[in-house]
Assembly symmetry: C2
């Protein structure tokens, strides 16, 4: 019987878990609810119970388990300490040290977006690359920086927080983080909708997006882009300008081989790159001009894969 590893991705409503062999093939995956009552004090205990149960059910002993990797929604440093997770009710907590005695095997922890990036490098869109920047365009914009195959957690666990890079100094509406003009305000799903609504209010130019009103979604915008809607194309250009400019700045720091774009917005597909890549190439230092742009492939499973990889090293 070969060795196994568990990958755990803690979300605000469910915890996703995966049991992998040491090559990264998934043997089984499942979910448990995230119990956030009592400041989330049950979460790690529930994870341990579920992991122990699954291990026994599959006939593995403790000595067969290389470890448990965990992704969590907050800043996590390289030692596995999370500096608060609002969605879980957690304040500062050493995830690795707390979970390890409950599962009896080594535990490693990382920020969920960072860990998902590691998963995409390992088994997803970035397969075969060692220097990858993963960008998750969802409700917010998350990032994961991978250098020589390893995550950049950052000194305070705030590595890869590229959603909060300043890209528009003239912005007046604040971002969730309190700053104004963050990349997240333009390149997230919410950001795309915001850009579209702003553009529609600007004048009366006809567009298929008019009439959708408050129900307008990010998907509507990209569908309209695909249908050659001139207003939607302007919105896509604005989105691409901010994201391309932001990623050019990222490239000046870590010079990646590839950017892997995931999250809900990336469901629009390769058409995104038509809008991101030209401004990226315009703004970036020549040495980073050839970086590849790839789509993420693992969807919601990126987190459990990356968490497993965190343990395998």
């Amino acid at each position: 019987m070969g060795k196994i590893v568990f990958g755990v991705d803690i979300g605000g409503t469910t915890v996703k878990l995966g049991l992998f062999d040491d090559e990264g093939s998934v043997l089984t995956k499942w979910e448990i609810p995230t119990v956030t009552e009592n400041h989330g004090s049950h979460i790690l205990k529930d994870i341990a119970d579920s992991v122990n149960e699954k291990r026994a059910a599959f006939g593995y002993q403790l000595k067969d388990v290389i470890g448990v990797g965990v992704g969590a929604p907050g800043p996590v440093d390289a030692a596995g300490i999370i500096y608060g997770a609002v969605n879980l009710g957690w304040s500062e907590l050493n995830i690795a040290q707390t979970l390890q005695p409950l599962v009896g095997v080594p535990v490693k922890a990382g920020n969920d977006a960072n860990v998902a990036a590691l998963g995409e490098m390992w088994k997803g869109g970035g397969r075969g690359c060692q220097d990858v920047v993963a960008v998750t365009l969802g409700t917010g914009v998350g990032g994961g920086i991978i250098v020589n195959g390893a995550l950049v957690a950052g000194f305070n666990g705030a590595g890869g927080e590229i959603g909060h890079m300043l890209v528009e100094e003239n912005e007046t509406e604040p971002c969730n983080c309190g700053l104004c003009g963050c990349l997240e305000q333009y390149a997230s799903a919410t950001g795309v909708v915001r850009l579209a609504k702003r553009r529609l209010q600007q004048d009366g130019e006809p567009s298929s997006l008019r009439g959708l009103g408050e129900a307008l979604t990010c998907k509507d915008v990209w569908d309209a882009v695909r249908a050659q809607d001139a207003v939607a194309i302007e919105v896509a250009e604005r989105f691409g300008y901010y994201l391309g400019k932001g990623l050019a700045a990222v490239a000046c720091v870590v010079n990646p081989e590839a950017f892997v774009i995931g999250g809900g917005v990336s469901k629009a597909g390769e058409i995104l790159f038509d809008y991101i890549v030209p401004p990226y190439r315009k703004f970036v230092f020549p040495g980073s001009r050839k970086a590849r742009f790839l789509l993420a492939e693992l969807g919601n499973d990126a987190g459990i894969y990356g968490a497993a990889k965190l343990v395998l090293g």
Copy 2:
């Protein structure tokens, strides 16, 4: 007799060399001329001769030498390949593989600014830190990104090229790299002088800087700042705005513990921080707000220290 390591810093006119023990104490340091004739084909041979001679003179045998580390002025990847060095007459060259048979010990190579950063982390201003961004404000602006104590070389050796991060979209004069509005155009010694000359032309406000004409230097500007010259202070604020904003973007990527500021401009001393830190804190993601700002300490020796550290790992 303990083990030793050589650190080599190749510049356009001289090669600096250092012989260190394995703790990083310098036993001797010296220089040889950089012979750039014949496309710089003598440079590595000259270095090898000098290293072998010094080793013999100090009574060390090959088995006592851990290796030779080299910093070179161009993009160098993690394998030790340099992708051209205009100042040396080099096109693409595997420094590590070429030098190794000539010295008979392992060779590692890196970009000179990156290697200097490693030196400052190891024995200079960043001592004790593992996550450091070193910024060299000289003729240009160079950077070195250190994560978990190791250099981020980048996929094409262009890691840490923060001097070419876009910080001013309205710039019309081009940077040396061909782009417009790079950080280097405002935060280098040349950039500070340029900002000062622009400001002086703007109106007739009295300033001690007037009358220096073309001879105006970066040092003049900081001396005038220290003397409370209002025009010089405006220039310093502009310098700090661009540099603080650029470093805030860097922090969103790698979340360092500290920035170590070196190069000619840094001779102005801690007064720089009065102008860099407030815009940095204004623009940066909260998780990186506490990053420390430190002055580099090794001056021109940073390169040989860092090259030695590259070998020691």
